[in-house]
């Protein structure tokens, strides 16, 4: 009896890797097939390139395109118009001899401002979402992984009392009250839970210290709930209105108010991943939890995070535009597209290009981000792969 051919080739070791590589490749193929998403991706790359280019062209002391050069004599000129050489000093004439996008009410070159604004808007979007994603991953990962680890309410109460004491002395009596009331609530809960368990024969006070009533999952989810109770735009508005206006404040605030979605996704992914064999195997091998979370589980959970990142950047740019409209955007001298758009609203009938150009630009970029994000989501979703 001859050896069947199948025995003559190496099968087992390669197949799982081959399968994973094939899956990645087919995800990429699927993504490419989605023409709209691909367009979004390309536009995103173009935007990125333009932003970087803009950064170079408009920064420094004598930039190629100067966004802050004020030429009152040339104000409100329409796009593609030429400068008036008699009215301008030589260095004030724009590099390309025409105002590609026109000028605004202070005579500034709109093209230059748009280029500078591209980089700033991009930064705002990325940093804000970066903060949100990092917070989201950490909290979501903790909630998902340590979900069932319970924390003793008594421990929490003691912690609150200490924090309250410190708060009273260093900061403000209000902290003391807040922490004290938290401690009181926790003690109440502990006592009532303890009364139930106390029937198991141990002395009452032992139960009090030892029982664990809150799981970390519950704690983190309650935190998410609290944050969700505040309508997000109002929260951002409140904080931005009350704090001194600065680009860093805006980025931080947008980031700190949009982490809830990522947290939920990561937690959901982790909860299901935790029961999978490779995690149990890793724990059996004795790997520490940090390594398990970051090296093994995280790469698998990244898919929804990636999707919410792209969509988050889009929404951050829109939020910034909205804040600018209300007067709370990034302050001058920085130009952002939101700034330009809201400055232009005063001249909407006289100089429509001041609103159209940034408006369209925002629309295209945000649209591309959204399409890109949806494309990733569709490509990574195995169930939808059955499409012909």
């Amino acid at each position: 009896m001859k050896t069947p051919k199948s025995h003559q080739r190496q099968i087992s070791a390669e197949e799982p890797n081959a399968i994973a590589a094939k899956r990645r490749r087919s995800s990429w193929i699927l993504f490419k097939q989605n023409k709209i998403a691909l367009t979004g991706f390309i536009i995103f790359l173009v935007f990125f390139a333009v932003a970087v280019l803009g950064l170079f062209l408009t920064s420094g002391d004598d930039p190629v395109l100067d966004p802050s050069l004020v030429r009152l004599q040339e104000k409100l000129k329409p796009p593609l118009s030429s400068p008036n050489p008699d009215a301008l000093a030589p260095r004030e004439i724009p590099s390309m001899k025409i105002y590609l996008f026109g000028t605004d009410d202070l005579g500034r070159d709109v093209l230059a401002r748009m280029l500078q604004g591209a980089w700033v808007s991009l930064t705002v979007g990325f940093v804000a979402v970066g903060i949100a994603v990092i917070v989201g991953i950490i909290l979501g990962g903790l909630a998902g992984y340590f979900g069932s680890y319970r924390v003793s309410a008594a421990h929490l109460a003691i912690f609150c009392l200490i924090a309250g004491g410190a708060g009273i002395s260093y900061w403000h009596p209000f902290w003391g009250l807040a922490m004290g009331s938290c401690a009181a609530v926790l003690i109440l809960i502990t006592v009532s839970a303890g009364r139930k368990r106390g029937q198991e024969g141990k002395p009452f006070w032992v139960n009090l210290i030892g029982i664990k009533t809150f799981s970390i999952d519950t704690l983190i989810m309650r935190l998410v709930d609290i944050m969700l109770c505040f309508p997000s735009f109002f929260l951002i508005l409140t904080v931005v209105a009350l704090l001194p206006a600065s680009i860093y404040n805006i980025m931080a605030v947008i980031g700190l108010t949009s982490w809830m979605g990522t947290t939920r996704f990561v937690r959901a992914e982790f909860l299901s991943l935790r029961e999978q064999d490779f995690v149990i195997a890793a724990r059996a091998l004795g790997l520490g939890f940090a390594r398990i979370i970051f090296r093994h589980m995280m790469p698998n959970a990244l898919a929804p995070v990636l999707v919410s990142t792209t969509i988050g950047i889009a929404s951050a740019i829109l939020t910034e535009a909205g804040l600018s409209f209300l007067g709370f955007g990034v302050p001058p001298p920085y130009a952002t597209w939101g700034n330009i758009l809201s400055d232009g609203k005063r001249f909407i009938f006289d100089a429509p290009w001041l609103t159209f150009i940034p408006g369209l630009a925002i629309l295209i970029v945000v649209l591309s981000f959204n399409l890109f994000g949806e494309g990733i989501k569709d490509a990574l979703n195995p169930r939808l792969k059955e499409r012909g």
Partner: protein, 311 residues
Amino acid sequence: MQKIITLFFVSVVSFLIIHLAPGKPSQIDPMNPKFTPELVERFKKEFHLDKPLHVQYALFYKDLLVGRTVSWKDNQPVLTKIWERFTNSLPLFIVGTIITWTLSFPLGISSALKRGGAYDRGVTFFSYLLISIPGFFFAYMLIILVVSWLQVPVIGMETFGLSTDSPALSAFMDRLWHLLLPSVLGASGGIAVLSRYVRSQMLEVQDQDYVRTARAKGLSSDQVYYKHALRNALLPFVTMFGLILPGLIGGSVIIESIFSWPGMGRMAYEAILARDYPVILTVNFISAVLVLLGTFISDVLYMVVDPRIRL
């Protein structure tokens, strides 16, 4: 029970944010020339601003829960102010919600049925367009379009001077016209998101085994979709009903500013600017209550509608 604890924490946090933020309410800002020092002192005493924070907290919320809180800006009771603006925002909200929910479902369902076709792709692209456009940009576009094309006035709740001498019907129509554009604007984002969600739910359900069983029994395609698939796909949306509740107290600041609509959004915005703490805190509190109530109702509805949870 957990919800009440959450509410408690929300109240604490919002109180903290307001009070710890820099900047004092204009009434007690010593720099403000309109107030003499005695007025400032009296103001402080009356609103307990000189007491330690935790006492302020307790006093404020006592007033709130009893309903006696008073706005600092114009000395009106907060609840009255809120109610006034609420009656303005309400029609906007109702019309917007009706538009959103009645348009999203047919759009989403028909998109799912014709998946991949030109209709589906068109609707999808249009949805993305709607959520990508900056709000006020879109608003201005629409306004320009409507005003120059249809010659219809759109700013404000009604045309100035109309209500006094015109017959009731035309006044009503006038208000309806003014209502339309801002509602549509507000609803546009919602339609985009909701219809996509409906579509994805339908698609997911279509692939389920029980749909295949239904076809194997000899049901027609229509029966399979509208009876079996739809019922399962729409399950999550019943629960979303409860989440409409928090929208009552909301109101887009942007839309209201553009249309000069005296609604809740603008009131909250002005309160923030003026550091009108009672108003801000009250609105916040009500909003939190509504959110928690809304999620509670959602959970209950979910239990009612899904037999797997109920039994």
